[in-house]
Symmetry: C2
Subunit: 340 residues, 2 copies
């Protein structure tokens, strides 16, 4: 089989215990599938790597149906229509969906959305700001966290794809914004380039003290991507009627028995805190509310993003691992095949 007739996939070989290891995912090869009437053949260009992928690989019931052994690993993708026997799609259309960790996928069109044909934004923007990352940041902050101008917003994984966007949206809302990140470089980036008011490197020194210093008026909204000790420390700094937005819990996704120990729950009670989780899927029907302002802010240069692109589907497990050791610099993507 030559390149044009061979498809590759990563399939679930064993449900990972702890971090994903060699052998949990199996590299497989198959012919490029044929399409039938009312189907399209999509060649994936970008694969999005997100912390929640670790939950998807677990084989357990999550907010999506569990994967079975042998299934192609689930993943959000952007691709191009290479062949079409579907009236709604033309060759060359760019589509977003969750076509998984594979080069070619067949779709009946129900599980993908087509980008506007007159679109002027770079394709990778749709894997970030104008995609599920943007919806996550926008609705998580504004609909769940509900910050008011002048309030202090604290964000964990603040140099990550979601966190960096949350902070910039909070600045646009007139908030004081403090980010927690895992390196001096990330801290500098969110302050110097993105305009955060302060940054905390959680790897250096006492976190609770650092939060007190950086948030002299306390914390009104804590946007959490990590859970664990950082969540506990942030909880202790919350003001009256403070809010915790639970967006992700990456610190515990690899744990065999995830445990979060809270020493500040009495403070939670005394301050009448609200802690609320959300999943971006709940907001897909309202996506247009977010895309209009996000697109405008992007075009005006009021929000910035960076993507960390690794190449080659064979490197998908390595790209995922970067999220968990924090070595990614911005939104982690994998370039599966060339842009049209």
């Amino acid at each position: 089989m030559n390149a044009a007739t061979v498809n590759h996939q990563w399939r679930i070989a064993a449900f990972p215990q702890g971090e994903v290891r060699d052998g949990d995912l199996r590299w497989s090869e198959s012919p490029v599938p044929e399409i039938s009437e009312n189907q399209i053949l999509v060649r994936n260009i970008y694969l999005s790597l997100d912390p929640t992928n670790r939950l998807w690989a677990s084989g357990e019931e999550t907010y999506l149906p569990p994967l079975k052994l042998g299934d192609v690993m689930r993943g959000s993708t952007l691709g191009v229509v290479e062949k079409t026997r579907h009236p709604r799609f033309r060759e060359g259309d760019v589509v977003m969906g969750a076509q998984g960790w594979q080069v070619y996928a067949v779709s009946d069109g129900s599980d993908v959305s087509r980008l506007p044909r007159d679109n002027r934004l770079p394709l990778k923007a749709y894997m970030g700001v104008i995609g599920s990352i943007g919806l996550t940041a926008y609705f998580g902050l504004l609909d769940v966290g509900r910050p008011k101008a002048g309030e202090t917003v604290l964000i964990s994984a603040a140099a990550g794809a979601v966190g960096s966007l949350v902070g910039q949206i909070a600045k646009i809302q007139g908030c004081r914004v403090v980010g927690i990140a895992g390196s001096e470089e990330k801290c500098r980036w969110i302050v110097d380039t993105l305009g955060f008011d302060a940054a905390i490197n959680y790897r250096s020194g006492d976190l609770a003290q650092a939060i007190s210093r950086s948030c002299p008026s306390g914390v009104d909204v804590y946007f959490d991507n990590v859970g664990g000790d950082i969540l506990d420390a942030a909880m202790g700094a919350l003001n009256l009627y403070g809010r915790i937005v639970v967006c992700g819990l990456i610190s515990q996704y690899n744990a065999a028995s995830p445990q979060h120990t809270f020493s500040n729950l009495t403070h939670f009670l005394i301050k009448r805190v609200r802690m609320e989780a959300f999943i971006v899927l709940d907001y897909l029907a309202r996506a247009h509310e977010a895309y209009a302002p996000l697109t405008q802010w992007l075009q005006e240069g009021r929000i910035q993003y960076r993507v960390d692109i690794m190449k080659g589907l064979e490197n998908a497990p390595a790209a995922l691992a970067k999220l968990f050791d924090g070595s990614n610099q911005g939104k982690q993507l994998l370039l599966i095949s060339d842009e049209p």
Copy 2:
């Protein structure tokens, strides 16, 4: 000094470490105070004992100003006006307030509320259903938990003053109601007398399994009075968009370093749970919204309560301790002096 001229108080001698011990509170004697123009002398009849008293004794900032060493211990009271030089009060008026752990107190009227003079309910009702207990149960369940008819409501400390009322209000709303309590007698009482659908004795067997068995459709609202392991187990049973009402955390109030360990926080995220704390003080302005239906339900026999009355101010520390070993049977009161 004879009885009519002597006042007694319990004062803070040392901030308790762990459970309240002999020596933390000091029994003191002083003359019955004289009153000035625009003051009343209140003789306390009932003292309410509540888990939150332990927080008040801590000397730390809570939702109320911290007590200082030497202060009279704070406590909710119901008393009778024995002397008045205040135009709004007559001798014999019954007043509610927080006059503390003492027999006599002087007030300028701003920190007490007068019961209606034509009141027909027994006085002890105002230390329970038609008082802060009633407001706590009513607003905590309906305003924070927001149960819908047909949903399952799970309650910890369900035979306690607040929990037993929450369950009965939830039944009136058409919910399935399951209570967690600490003895077989309490479990029988909430099912046989109060009409709960099921009860779980947390001292016998695996709690998570018991919750699954008693809540076959999962839990929609968990009303928490205890925190700790029971909160964690309940969290794991929550349905999509489940709600946790954080009313109290009695399991950790005596702990020197309170810790709550959660193994079910990923479930919290996946199910988009909302966990929200409240304090009854936030609802005092809306008390009339609750008192009208509560009074009606009480008069119709649709809600029942029981009080556990210990006698004599000297026994106040012992009455408080009963809340923490679970030996109280319903709302714990202390009879300080005779009803008029």
